[in-house]
C-alpha cells in the first residue's frame, strides 16, 4: 500500500487538559487502580501531593484530544477500517495530580510502509503548568492492506 510520507515532522495544535479529581477517580476505578493515592485526597496530601495522583496510564486521557487531529489528517489518509493499535510507549516525568493543567502537542514521528502495511507513528509531549515534561508518548498505528 502507498503511504504519504510528506507529513513526517508535522505538528498539530497544542491542547490543554485540566486534570480533575473526579476524572482521576473515575479512570482509576475503570482500570482497577485501588491505591488510595489515586482515590483519597487526604492520603495523597499526607504523602506530599497537592491532591489525588493520576495513575501513569492516565496519560491517555490528557493526550487524547492532541492525538485526534493526526488520526483524522486527510493528508495522512489513515484507513480506520483496517487500522490497529500496534504498539505504545510512554515515558513519565513527575506524577500528575488533580489541579494540574497539561499541555500536549502531537507530531508525526514517522510514516512508513513495510510488508504491505502502513505504519503511522505519532509522538506526544505533555507538559504541566510548571513547564515540566510529565509524559512523552509514542503511538504506533498499523494499517493493513484493504
Amino acid at each position: 500500500m502507498a503511504v504519504n510520507t510528506d507529513a513526517i515532522g508535522r505538528a498539530y495544535p497544542a491542547t490543554i487538559y485540566a486534570v480533575g479529581r473526579e476524572k482521576i477517580r473515575e479512570y482509576a476505578s475503570a482500570v482497577g487502580e485501588h491505591n488510595p493515592l489515586h482515590l483519597d485526597p487526604e492520603v495523597a496530601r499526607s504523602a506530599g501531593f497537592a491532591d489525588v495522583v493520576a495513575p501513569p496510564m492516565f496519560a491517555v486521557v490528557y493526550s487524547n484530544a492532541a492525538i485526534l487531529p493526526g488520526l483524522f489528517d486527510p493528508e495522512l489518509g489513515i484507513d480506520f477500517a483496517h487500522m490497529v493499535h500496534g504498539s505504545q510507549e510512554f515515558r513519565w516525568g513527575p506524577l500528575v495530580v488533580a489541579g494540574d493543567e497539561i499541555t500536549t502537542t502531537a507530531t508525526v514521528k514517522d510514516v512508513a510502509e513495510r510488508g504491505g502495511m502502513g505504519f503511522y507513528v505519532f509522538e506526544t509531549e505533555s507538559v504541566n503548568q510548571k513547564g515540566e515534561t510529565v509524559c512523552v508518548g509514542l503511538w504506533t498505528n498499523i494499517v493493513r492492506a484493504g
Binding site: A30, V60, Q88
Partner: protein, 125 residues
C-alpha cells in the same frame, strides 16, 4: 529487587468494562462498546481497548514494585484481541538492575494467547 524476581496480576474484565473504560478514557470506538457494530466489521464481538490492557500491565508494575512513581517508561506491543469475562494474566520479570534503574520484561495473556507482548519497563529503584 534483583534479576529474576517476578510478579503476576490476574484480572477478569466484566461485561460492561469497556463501557466504563470508554467513558473514563474518552475512547468511544464502537468496536469496544457496540456488539452489532463489532460483528459487522468481522470481530467476534466487542473487544477490550488495548490501552486498558496496557493499564493492567502498568498497574502490575506499580503494585509489585512500590507505587506509581516507580514507573519511568513502559512500552508494549498489542497482538490479537482481548475479550470480556475471561481472565487475563499479566506477568513481569526483572531482567537487570543497575545504577538506580531496573529493566522489567512483561506480557499479558488470555486463554493461552498473548494479547500484549514484548512489554519492557524502566523502573526507578
Amino acid at each position: 529487587m534483583k534479576p529474576g524476581d517476578s510478579f503476576e496480576l490476574t484480572v477478569t474484565p466484566d461485561r460492561y468494562l469497556t463501557v466504563r473504560y470508554a467513558g473514563a478514557s474518552g475512547d468511544f470506538n464502537p468496536i469496544h462498546i457496540d456488539e452489532d457494530f463489532a460483528k459487522q466489521v468481522g470481530l467476534p464481538g466487542r473487544i477490550l481497548h488495548g490501552l486498558w490492557t496496557m493499564a493492567q500491565v502498568a498497574r502490575a508494575h506499580s503494585e509489585a514494585l512500590g507505587g506509581p512513581d516507580k514507573l519511568e517508561r513502559l512500552s508494549v506491543q498489542f497482538r490479537g484481541m482481548g475479550v470480556m469475562e475471561e481472565e487475563i494474566t499479566v506477568t513481569g520479570t526483572v531482567r537487570e538492575v543497575d545504577d538506580g534503574r531496573a529493566v522489567v520484561h512483561s506480557e499479558a495473556s488470555q486463554n493461552g494467547k498473548r494479547i500484549i507482548r514484548n512489554g519492557e519497563a524502566d523502573i526507578r529503584v
